[in-house]
Amino acid sequence: MSGFNKVVNSYEEAMSGLEDGMTLIAGGFGLCGIPENLIKEIKNKGTKNLTVVSNNCGTTNHGLGILLHDKQVKKMVASYVGENEEFERQMMSGELEVELTPQGTLAEKMRAAGAGIPAFFTATGYGTPVAEGKESREINGRHYILEESIKGDFAIVKAWKADTYGNLVFRKTARNFNPMAATAGKITVVEVEEIVQPGELDPDHIHTPGIYVDRVILGNFEKVIEQRTTRPSA
C-alpha cells in the first residue's frame, strides 16, 4: 500500500486522536459543504471542551449545532450566530465563550495558518469591537488592525471527490471555507462523496493538493437545505 494512501474506513479511525480541549477547524457555510458524519462522530465520541472554529455553528439540530446540546463546545470562533437559537442562547447566557470574527478575516486566518503567516494587517474591523486588544497601524493613510492566524489540532473538511492520495475537488458553493480549513489542521480529515484513483482527477482542476490531507473517508450526506427558495417552473 502506498505511503500516500490516505483512505480510512471507519469514522472512529477518521477522528482518532481528537481529545478534550483541542481546537477544531471546520469547513462549511451554514449547512452547505459540511462534514456531516465527522461532526456526528465527534458527538458520539463525546469529546468535550472543544474550541471550534467555523463560520457558523450549524443550526440547532444540524451540523456543528449538535455539539452544543451536550455542551461539547467551550468556545466558538465564528462570524455568524443568526439562525441558530441554541447558539444564541448559550452565547447570551455566557455558557459558551464566543469570539465573533469577520467572515473574511476568519477565512484569511485559516489560510494564513496553513501558509506559515502568523499575522497580517487588515482594514476589516478597525474601530469596531473586533479591534479591541489588537494592534492598529496606519499604512499609506489607511487604518488597519493586526490579526493572527488560527491553527487547529484537527481540521474537518467536506469535499466532493478525493483521490486516494487526498487530492480534493469541491463542488459549487460547498467549497467555501473547506480549502482553507484543510490547510490549517495539524491533522486534516476529509469526508467526501466519492473516492477515485490517483490520476483520475485532472491535475489542473484539483482545488486542494493532497499534501494538506491526512485522512479521507467516504460518507453519505443528507445535505439539509436551510432556505429552500424557488421560482415557479416555466
Binding site: G127, F170, R175, T229, T230
Partner: protein, 220 residues
C-alpha cells in the same frame, strides 16, 4: 409616503452601471437584483463563493451545494465563477467589487455604521459585513430612517457597536437619499410626498439641506 421595500430596491438599482460587480446584502438589498435597469448588465457577488449569481432555482434545479450568502438556494448566471471564501474576501477586501449594498441599525455623520448586534438583545454576528464595509469604496446603506417610535437612526454618533468606522458615504432610507461628507449628512433626494421638514425632524445627526431637494423618480 415612506418608500416601500420595493421602492428602496428600485432606487438603489438606479445607481447600477453596466459592467458593475455588485454585492447585495441580506434583506432589502437582495431585492435590488429584481430592478436592474434595461440595457445594463451587472454580476452579483455572493460572499460564500460565487460571482455571477442567477435567479432562484425551479424545484427541479434546486441544488444543496449552490446557495447564496443568505443560505437561499440559487442558480448561476452565464459566465459565473466559483471560488473559496479566502478568494471571495480577497475580492471584497481588495476593493474589486464596484458596489456594495447592505442594511444597518444606525449610521452616523462620521460615516460609521452599526449593523451586527444590539448588546443584551440581539447578536446576529457580523458575517461578511465588516469586510464589505472596510473593503468597498462604493457602498449604499439601505435602512429605515427612524424606529417605529420615531427615534432617528441617522445619528451624530452611533450608539451600538460599530461594524465599520468612517466608511459610509451614501445612505438610502425610506424617506431620503443622503450623502455623508465632511462630518455631515447632506440631503440629496426625498421620497415622493415626504417633506424636508419631516426628514429634518427625524435626522439626529447634523444635516445639510440644499435650497432645492428633488423628489426621487420612479418609473411608472
Amino acid at each position: 409616503m415612506a418608500l416601500s421595500r420595493e421602492q428602496l430596491a428600485q432606487r438603489v438599482a438606479q445607481e447600477l452601471q453596466d459592467g458593475f460587480y455588485v454585492n447585495l446584502g441580506i434583506g432589502i438589498p437582495t431585492l435590488v437584483a429584481n430592478y436592474v435597469p434595461e440595457g445594463i448588465e451587472v454580476m452579483l457577488q455572493s460572499e460564500n463563493g460565487l460571482l455571477g449569481m442567477g435567479q432562484f432555482p425551479t424545484d427541479e434545479e434546486v441544488d444543496a451545494d449552490l446557495i447564496n450568502a443568505g443560505k437561499q438556494t440559487v442558480t448561476m448566471a452565464t459566465g459565473a465563477s466559483l471560488f473559496d471564501s479566502a478568494e471571495s474576501f480577497a475580492m471584497i477586501r481588495g476593493g474589486h467589487v464596484d458596489l456594495t449594498v447592505l442594511g444597518a441599525f444606525e449610521v452616523d455623520c462620521q460615516g460609521n455604521i452599526a449593523s451586527y448586534m444590539i448588546p443584551g438583545k440581539l447578536i446576529k454576528g457580523m458575517g461578511g459585513a465588516m469586510d464589505l464595509v472596510a473593503g468597498a469604496d462604493n457602498i449604499i446603506v439601505t435602512m429605515t430612517h427612524a424606529s417605529k417610535h420615531g427615534e432617528s437612526k441617522l445619528l451624530a454618533e452611533c450608539t451600538l457597536p460599530l461594524t465599520g468606522k468612517g466608511c459610509i458615504k451614501k445612505v438610502l432610507t425610506d424617506l431620503a437619499f443622503l450623502e455623508i461628507k465632511e462630518g455631515k449628512f447632506h440631503l440629496l433626494e426625498r421620497a415622493p410626498g415626504v417633506s424636508v421638514e419631516e426628514i429634518v425632524k427625524l435626522t439626529a445627526g447634523e444635516l445639510v439641506v440644499p435650497n432645492h431637494v428633488p423628489e426621487m423618480q420612479f418609473p411608472t
